[in-house]
Subunit: 451 residues, 2 copies
Amino acid sequence: MIAKKVHLDEKEMPRAWYNIVPDMPNMPEPPLNPGTGQPIGPEDLAPIFPMGLIEQEVSQERWIPIPEEILNIYRLWRPSPLYRAYHLEEVLGTPARIYYKYEGVSPAGSHKPNTSIAQAYYNKQEGVKRLATETGAGQWGSALALACQFFGLECTVYMVKVSYHQKPYRRSMMQVWGSEVIPSPSDRTNAGRSILEKDPDTPGSLGIAISEAVEDAATRDDTKYSLGSVLNHVLLHQTIVGLEVKEQLKKVGDKPTVLIGSCGGGSNFAGLVFPYMPEKAAGENIRFLAVEPTSCPTLTKGSYAYDFGDTAQMTPIMPMYTLGHDFVPPGIHAGGLRYHGASPLVSVLHRDGIVEAVAYTQNPVFEAAVTFAKSEGIVPAPESAHAVKAVIDEADRCKEEGKEDVIVFNLSGHGHFDMGAYDAYFAGDLEDYTYPEEKIADSLKNLPKVK
Amino acid sequence: MIAKKVHLDEKEMPRAWYNIVPDMPNMPEPPLNPGTGQPIGPEDLAPIFPMGLIEQEVSQERWIPIPEEILNIYRLWRPSPLYRAYHLEEVLGTPARIYYKYEGVSPAGSHKPNTSIAQAYYNKQEGVKRLATETGAGQWGSALALACQFFGLECTVYMVKVSYHQKPYRRSMMQVWGSEVIPSPSDRTNAGRSILEKDPDTPGSLGIAISEAVEDAATRDDTKYSLGSVLNHVLLHQTIVGLEVKEQLKKVGDKPTVLIGSCGGGSNFAGLVFPYMPEKAAGENIRFLAVEPTSCPTLTKGSYAYDFGDTAQMTPIMPMYTLGHDFVPPGIHAGGLRYHGASPLVSVLHRDGIVEAVAYTQNPVFEAAVTFAKSEGIVPAPESAHAVKAVIDEADRCKEEGKEDVIVFNLSGHGHFDMGAYDAYFAGDLEDYTYPEEKIADSLKNLPKVK
């Protein structure tokens, strides 16, 4: 039996983002200024973010209207389809009902434009001319390049050097969309230069690239910084995903009991699950399950602590699950899940037992992805494949227990740019690596000292 | 101003394909048996095609109902979006109205599944267990792999050797979907072995790969052959594209005056334009414009003549525009446009002056593709980019003439697997090659002798 698409009309698309803050049982501790160690205010963020986004970052309002100009761009590919995975259910022989929200329909091929479009819009509104950002494998960089192209902003992307050379296709896409792409570390910034002096052959890392992009933005009047995950306003923009899912599930008269998303910084996970917070708070039976790689086990093996977002210690110090800001993740194929920290909002929900987390090694993840592609047709991005693995495990549990759970997950992107990873999987070249606990403990010794 | 999507509801999706045959002013001459030189009948095709498809190949019925099982799969991504390219119009400063039908939303990323799904269905209906086909860069092979996976058929794809090694990503996709992919020429067939004996290092060609796939199907009882373009039934299945466009344009009260598609074998072009044949025959002002590369200028520089579809002279002899079955196209990036022949239906319409044709070199095509991607967001496949170039030229003409033409084109696929070609374009490495007329004349000397 073939999958079935749950349609949502353009007119029924949500017109406001959902802000989870008023519904949080506990808020994260405030971010701290890296210089003074004092809680930061909007003025600390003003050099790198426009006021429109800073307001969203600290907003207490439950609903934040989506400007018409953003809706007009969302409508190019939104509402995105929700599918009932009938064929996968059949293949797994599970009594569970499985749905997936497919965000790969955007021009960049992932959920990332949900926030890049919004961020470019608010920057444009305030007269910003240029955005600087970092990217690993290029998913975020390409999404911001697209958004800047739509709004006529210049865009400079610091791309982790090893990806710049080894994964050229998303780089080409950024160039097609008119962005400047610079291998990081570069000689364009103090942060880059100081790392190159110590280690001219460094492959780079996301933490270093963030340092470069933040420095770029902080030192140029015409430029702001843009981040693709972690921060409150980024997660806010992604809630369009879960809000659409709610409308779509209403149409088929179903309610989720398990919501699953892969979790790097946390935005694709939060985008799906946060809109269900009111139901969960009201006692409904809904589990929130975050999935991460064992090679970068932020939620499952990290500590909830204050830490920097970057290597050069330039960002605010944030309370979050972290593996330490000098954690160097191994080169796994799910580039979007290779960050040492997690969103403060997701982190505190995990600390409070509201968000569960599970970690997998690469081979079972790709095995799950192939099972999914054979059943449903769509080839998942390696990041999204982590969610697929958890979905299959949950479906198997339902089979054992005879339970009719309703499992909904975020298929956050397609794998068209990641077929080399599938090749490596078929060739048996993928390592099932688990980051050693003692190395994590070492990194955690270097957390910033705060009161 | 941003593009706008013209929605079509799932319930409004066409439920029959349009067969142009009853509306053709002149039919192509009959295909001939390569052994006897006599017109072939259904029984000649039975060893390699199922009867359901042979009936469609020779059908005189204007409307052929689409089986519910095929509609259920189409609905996974259909109706595909039609966009009004407001932003591109603005960038070009043209008074023309430009629309594009986007077929890159299928799981394979192109229009090809419109026919692969149908072909797999009819084969499955008649108890076929396995399909054999050929592919160049992999667009068709991946579409058939997807379809066979949905219907539980085995699939063997003979992939042109140079692409097998140089363009591994669509190959990986076929493997994800469970197909066997064999570099061609191979030692699996007589055709392959005889070519390897003469030239062990041959890069292969589409003509050779077709010979291998046809031989594979003809020599195994459980196996049929499947072709991704050229034949009447393939073009028939693609008419879902143009039929949806008609419904979508009705919703915005517009009528096309120029319909544009890139043309290799002819299926993506025909899919868009054929459904407008009744209007054109009734005297409405609608131009049909086919776009091809100057490196493989079948319609613009070839002859309308009887020729083989493959190198080993195993296929029926068909009346078509051809560059000669031993034409070896240069290695341009639009792999889907590198075939020596064109569909007999498209060919006779071109001979009769109903279909116009134009050819471009690579650099202007990629320049147009980048202009499009910057305006509309979607990065076109190199094949589709040929149509984009013609669209921009037509829009410029409208600007000069002050005409408000309505230009509609088939954006048949995305370029996610072709970013290397964009890289080459940006690096200035693309050659603007025009196949020499004297070499075409040489190839045309080898046409089969028929009465």
